[in-house]
């Protein structure tokens, strides 16, 4: 017997029900917000290609008539910005990878086996309560005697420890909301615990892991204090270079902006690569099958 189906109800357009005045207000707010965020960014980028004479003139120069790249060459080569960029990339990537790998394992262990009872998880987070100033001197002294001072490895280790609490906590929250039965099914299906972690739990927690990794990367990428104390001529990172632009001769706006623009690029690329995962990870989206 044929079943006659009623035609679907016409869907009412949502905007038709909206108040036009409210819409205008919404657009105005968003425009204002966009301006608030993008204008400084624009100013930094534009200043990086302005000739020195255009920095602080009134009325301001919105686009230089003779754009220049001298600030870039100065920042990257004279001020050793390029080496700092390479150092930063190495150190940030390495400590992000380490922090993510160890963080995943620890978070899984906390979430699934309740390792360390109810206190260990909080103890991990409590490491973040400690102000960096309180630990920098001991770390500095240890690093000097262990020959880790001013080395990539030293800074990578320091940053891994610095970012681990956050990555552990983000992933702990994520693993906890994964249904246990998926992993149990895998165990009964014949996977070992390790295989279950890597083949079932990690792929499902990927959004959370990516989000944690991005946070770790950004935290390391912009970190100044540890880098300042633990490095000098060799393993120095991008943020420490900015110090040099504020000298007794005044501020080197062009060079500072050129380096700032350069340092934006990796974050921007990273952001675009993981955007899809990041949004899901931050909203802790459910992964019901």
């Amino acid at each position: 017997m044929a079943v006659v189906q009623a035609p679907p109800l016409p869907r009412r357009r949502r905007s038709a029900r909206r108040n036009p005045g409210l819409d205008a207000l919404r657009i105005a707010f968003l425009a204002g917000f966009l301006l608030f965020v993008l204008l400084p960014l624009y100013w930094v980028i534009i200043t990086s290609i302005k000739p020195t004479s255009d920095y602080l003139v009134v009325p301001p120069v919105w686009f230089p008539s003779e754009p220049t790249i001298v600030h870039y060459t100065a920042a990257l080569f004279s001020y050793r910005g390029l080496q700092a960029l390479v150092n930063s990339l190495i150190i940030s990537s390495a400590s992000t990878v380490l922090s993510t790998v160890f963080g995943t394992m620890m978070a899984y262990s906390l979430a699934r086996f309740n390792t360390g009872g109810q206190h260990l998880a909080f103890w991990v987070l409590s490491q973040r309560f400690l102000p960096p100033v309180a630990v920098i001197l001991p770390i500095f002294l240890l690093f000097r005697s262990w020959k880790l001072y001013d080395t990539h490895v030293g800074l990578i280790l320091a940053y891994t420890f610095m970012t681990l609490p956050l990555t552990v906590w983000m992933m702990y929250a994520y693993f906890r909301q994964l249904p246990k039965s998926l992993e149990e099914a895998a165990l009964v299906d014949g996977l070992s615990r390790w295989q279950t972690l890597w083949k079932i739990a990690v792929p499902l927690a990927a959004p959370g892991i990516v989000a944690a990794a991005v946070f770790a990367f950004i935290a390391v990428w912009t970190e100044f204090f540890f880098a300042l104390i633990l490095t000098s001529r060799h393993a120095f990172t991008l943020p420490t270079v900015f110090r040099a632009f504020l000298g007794f001769q005044g501020a080197q706006y062009g060079e500072a902006c050129a380096l700032a623009t350069t340092s934006l690029v990796p974050s921007l690329i990273l952001g675009m690569l993981v955007q899809r995962h990041l949004v899901r990870g931050l909203t802790l989206g459910a992964i019901r099958g």
Binding site: S181, L182, E184, A185, L187, V188, D189, G190, Q195, G289
Partner: protein, 363 residues
């Protein structure tokens, strides 16, 4: 293929006992249903058999070998979970074949076995889909496919149908029964639904508070319940329980609070010294009828003032006061017109049970 033997099994969660010393033997090829109210320990028992929970005391044997310390993957059991537990990031094919891949089965054999399992369950056309693209019934089939593909020696089902709507549930129930007949593998099935238990089981194990209340064939438990709990748990609508008092005066009878008296069947020998003893009289709604000749045993006439009428189409449930308690009877729909009506009913006394109200055991 394997039998299962459980001896004095105990499991506590942080000091709270979930399973309190269960002995259970399940024969090879048997379909056993563990049933009971929530919190009775049935799921815990199943999970200990799967190896997903450690046990605190006792032994579990599968196929004659103690598996207490064995990891789940080495027990060669398959489990179907309540929420299906399909891997969302894998296709149906990936879901079904994972267990074979984990055991390093050669690729052609994987292919062949996945195809066979899929054909058996009618999901061959879904193999490239992801779980999120499937309906509830299809997901359940995939979950079952994942279990049958590796020919385990034991199947475990943890309330597999409770997330499905009523119609699908009926369909899948038949499917599972058919699978058991085709495969002949030992199956242990957990449910809180007594209809599933009655229809599927070769043997029902009714659990209560972490202990086995009664085990036996479905009809055994239905017709010869050992306790009031069993009598009340199986059967729908529930058995009627009416408090009363034994009167032995030549022949035995039960007198109720409102003075009504029912004579017990002659074959039921009640010692004279039991006279005056308090009992609970139990009778199922199905054991009432309007025609005394249609009842199997000695019939007792009851005059019923219909208080409530619940028609279901083919049958009608009526509620009326009797012996100081509301009593429900199941009649044919045309036996009764509406509430307020007074009708004569006959009760099949050979099916009635007497319960000791103190111990809860059937006398």
């Amino acid at each position: 293929m394997a039998n299962v033997k459980i001896t004095r099994l105990e499991k506590h969660y942080a000091g709270v006992p979930a399973v309190r010393g269960i002995d259970l033997e399940i024969a090879d090829g048997e379909f056993t249903v563990l049933v009971g109210p929530s919190g009775c320990g049935k799921s815990t028992l199943l999970r200990t058999i799967a190896g997903l929970e450690d046990i605190d005391a006792g032994t579990i044997e599968i196929g004659g070998a103690v598996v207490n310390e064995m990891r789940p993957r080495d027990r060669d059991v398959a489990m179907v979970f309540q929420d299906y537990a399909l891997y969302p990031h894998m296709t149906v094919h990936g879901n079904i074949s994972l267990s074979l891949k984990a055991r390093n089965t050669p690729r052609p054999e994987i292919e062949q076995r996945v195809q066979r399992a899929a054909a058996m369950l009618g999901i061959a056309n879904l193999l490239q889909r992801y779980p999120r693209q499937l309906s509830g019934g299809q997901r359940q089939r995939v979950a079952i496919g994942r279990a049958i593909v590796r020919n385990p020696r034991l199947f475990l089902f943890d309330e597999p149908l409770s997330n499905l709507d009523a119609q699908l549930r009926d369909e899948m129930r038949s499917e599972i029964k058919r699978l058991h007949q085709e495969l002949g593998t030992t199956m242990i099935y957990v449910t809180h639904d007594q209809i599933e238990a009655m229809t599927l089981a070769d043997r029902i194990v009714l659990l209560k508070d972490g202990l086995v209340e009664q085990a036996g064939s479905p009809l055994d438990l239905y017709e010869r319940p050992a306790t009031r709990f069993v009598a009340g748990f199986l059967g729908s609508p529930k058995m009627n329980f009416i408090p009363g008092q034994l009167v032995v005066n030549g022949s035995a009878a039960v007198r109720f609070a409102d003075g009504a008296t029912l004579a017990l069947p002659d074959r039921r020998s009640v010692p004279a010294e039991w006279s005056g003893r308090a009992v609970t009289f139990g009778i199922r709604p199905q054991h009432f009828g309007r025609d005394p000749s249609a009842l199997s045993g000695q019939a007792a006439r009851v005059s019923a003032q219909v208080e409530l009428l619940q028609p279901t189409g083919s049958r009608a449930f009526i509620t009326f006061p009797f012996g100081g308690a509301p009593v429900m009877a199941e009649l044919a729909s045309h036996d009764v017109q509406g509430p307020g009506e007074r009708i004569d009913l006959y009760m099949d006394m050979s099916r009635a049970i007497l319960i000791d109200p103190e111990s809860g055991r059937v006398i």
